[in-house]
C-alpha cells in the first residue's frame, strides 16, 4: 500500500475541508483525484506531502507518517505543487542541478531533461519558458531523485492539449517503470486517459471510487440507442422493455434507456415478431463526464460550460 487514510479530517476554522476520508491506494498505479474546486483535493494531497497537518484521522504514505517521519518521506516522495514557483533567473539545467543537490541519490540532470523533453531548453532561463515547459520542468524537479511515489497537484491546469499530452507521456513512462502516481485534476479526459483508478471528491468526501470503466458502468444516466431496420417497425413494443422512443433521426429510431442490456435482449424478440431485420445499431453509453457531473452536481462542475449543457440535455 502506498497510501492509507483513515477517517481523515481537516477543518479550517468553521470550514470542513475534509470530512472523514477513508482510502487505501496500492502501489504501482496512476490514481486520479477528481472534483470541483473546494472539494478538498489539494488539502488532501498536501496532507499526504506533509505540508498540512490533519485535524484528526490517520495518514500513512509509503508506510510513513508525513508529520513525524517527514525526513524519510521527503527522500522517497516526488511532489509537484499546484502553483509552480521556481527561481526565475536560473536556467532549466541550473535549477535541476540545484534541486539534485538536496538529495543523496539522483538521476543525471541530462537524463531528466531528456525525460521531460527539455534538452533544447537546458540553457534557457526559467522566466523565458512557456507555461507547458515550466510545468514539465516542475515535473522534472519532482522526478530528479527517482521517487517511488509522485504526487502531482493539477499538473496540466491551464495547458493546451498538446502540452497536456506531452506531460501525460512523461507520467506514463514514469509509471511504466513501476512507480506510483497520484494526481489531482479537474479534466475528466485527463483522468480517463491517464488513470487506472479515479477517486471523485465533493465537499470533503469521496463520492465515487473505481476504474473509469467501473464508474461509467455505475452511472444512472441514460444510454441512447439508434436502431435501423429493413422494414416497418413499431417502436411501442420496445418501449414496453423500459425505453423511451424519441422518433426518427434519418432512418434510425432513437431510444433512451437506463438499462441498455435489457433493451438489447428485448430487441431480438421484437424484431423477430415483426419480421424485420436489424440493419444498424448504435449505442452511446454515459461517459465518465456524465457520471462525474451526476456525482458532483452540474452547477459545481468546472471546465467548459458546453459540456455541462450537453450533459443536462
Amino acid at each position: 500500500m502506498s497510501i492509507v487514510l483513515e477517517q481523515l479530517r481537516k477543518t479550517y476554522g468553521e470550514t470542513q475541508a475534509l470530512k472523514g476520508v477513508d482510502l487505501s491506494i496500492a502501489s504501482g498505479g496512476v490514481v486520479g483525484i477528481l472534483g470541483p474546486n473546494g472539494a478538498g483535493k489539494t488539502t488532501m494531497v498536501e496532507i499526504l506531502e506533509g505540508l498540512r497537518q490533519p485535524t484528526s484521522g490517520k495518514v500513512s504514505v509509503l508506510g510513513l507518517d508525513p508529520q513525524r517521519q517527514s525526513g524519510e518521506l521527503k527522500r522517497r516522495l516526488g511532489v509537484q505543487l499546484q502553483s509552480t514557483a521556481m527561481p526565475m533567473d536560473l536556467t532549466a539545467r541550473e535549477l535541476l542541478q540545484m534541486y539534485a543537490a538536496f538529495y543523496s541519490r539522483t538521476s543525471p540532470v541530462a537524463d531528466v531533461l531528456h525525460r521531460v523533453g527539455l534538452e533544447a531548453k537546458a540553457t534557457t532561463l526559467t522566466r523565458h519558458l512557456s507555461g507547458g515547459q515550466k510545468q514539465r520542468l516542475a515535473l522534472g524537479i519532482a522526478l530528479i531523485h527517482d521517487p517511488e511515489l509522485l504526487i502531482l497537484d493539477e499538473p496540466t491546469s491551464g495547458l493546451d492539449p498538446a502540452a497536456r499530452r506531452a506531460l501525460h507521456e512523461v507520467v506514463r513512462a514514469y509509471n511504466a517503470a513501476g512507480n506510483s502516481v497520484i494526481l489531482t485534476t479537474h479534466y475528466i479526459e485527463e483522468a480517463e486517459a491517464l488513470c487506472d483508478r479515479v477517486i471523485v471528491m465533493r465537499e470533503g468526501v469521496v463520492v465515487a471510487d473505481g476504474t473509469p470503466f467501473e464508474l461509467v458502468g455505475r452511472a444512472e444516466g441514460l444510454s441512447t440507442l439508434w436502431i435501423e431496420c429493413s422494414g416497418p417497425f413499431d417502436p411501442q413494443r420496445l418501449e414496453a422493455a423500459g425505453t423511451t422512443h424519441h422518433g426518427l433521426e434519418g432512418t434510425h429510431h432513437r431510444f433512451t434507456t437506463r438499462d441498455p442490456a435489457a433493451v438489447i435482449v428485448a430487441l431480438g424478440e421484437v424484431l423477430r415478431s415483426q419480421h424485420v431485420t436489424l440493419t444498424d445499431l448504435r449505442m452511446k453509453r454515459p461517459t465518465l463526464e456524465d457520471v462525474y457531473l451526476e456525482l458532483v452536481g452540474e452547477g459545481d462542475a468546472d471546465g467548459d460550460p458546453a459540456h455541462v449543457l450537453e450533459a443536462s440535455r
Binding site: 541550473e94 540545484m98 543537490a101
Partner: protein, 285 residues
Amino acid sequence: MSQFRAFTALYRGHLLAYKRTRTAIYWSLAFPLFFLLMFGFVFGHGNPDDTRFVMPGLFTITIISGSVFGVAMRIVTERESGILRRHRVTPVSAVAVVLAHGAMALTMLLASLALQLIVARLLFHFDLGAATPAFVVVLVLAGAALIPIGLIVGSVARDSRSAPAIANFLFFPLMFLSGSAIPFMMLPAWMQRIGRLVPTTYVNESLQGVAVRHQGLTQVAGPLAILALTSVIGITLNGLLFRWESTEPVRKDRLLIAVLGLGGIYVAAYFLAPALGMATFHPRS
C-alpha cells in the same frame, strides 16, 4: 554533509541569479559608491586625514543597508512566491536555506565594501597599510553579526510591504545612534548612552579603533566579542523564526525569545561598556 551540499547549491543559485539581475548589481555596488563619493567630498573634504576619520562611519552605513534591506526582502519574496514552499517538500533544511541567504548577503556586502575600499584608496588616499587585514576582519565580523538580523526581519515580516517598513524602522537608529552618520563624540551624552544599546555602535567603534586610533584587534576585542555573540545568537534565532510559508503564523513566543536574546546582549553591553572603555568619548587622534 548533504545539508552542506544543499547549502552550496542554494548559494550558487543565488549567485547565478544575482549575476543576471542588473538592478541588484546597481543597488549593491553603485549605491554604496555614491555614498562613498558623498562622504569623501562632503565630510572628508577630499583630503586624506579627514577622509580617514569619516570612512568607518561610511562602512558602517554600507554594512547596515547591505544586511537589513536586501536579505530581508529576498527571504520574503521567496516565501511569498512559493519557492520556499517548494523547497519544503524536499529534504533541504531550514538552516541550509537561511545560511545560503546569509552567505549570499555577506558576499554582496563584501563585494560592495571591497569596491568602496578600492575607490576610497584611489580617490581619497584612504590607505590603512598594515591595519588592512584587521580592518577586513572587523568588516566580515560586522556583516556576520548584522546579516542574521536582516534574516530575522525577513522571517518575521508579514509580507513584502512590511519588510521594508521594518528595515527602515531599524535603519535609522542603527545609523544615527551608532555615530556612523554623525560622529559619536558629537552626540549628546544621553544619545551616546542609548547608542551603547545598538549593535552598529560596536561596529563603528571597532572600525574607528583600527583605522583611526591604530589599535590592533586585541584592543578592540570587547566590541568584537559583542559582534561575535550577536552573530551566533542571531543565527540560532533564525532557526526558531524561519517560516516556509506566508500562511504560517509568526510564533509570538519565539519572537519574544528573539527580542530578549538579542536585547540581553546589548543590555549587558550597556552596563559593561564604560568598564571596558567601549562606546565612550574618544578624542580625535
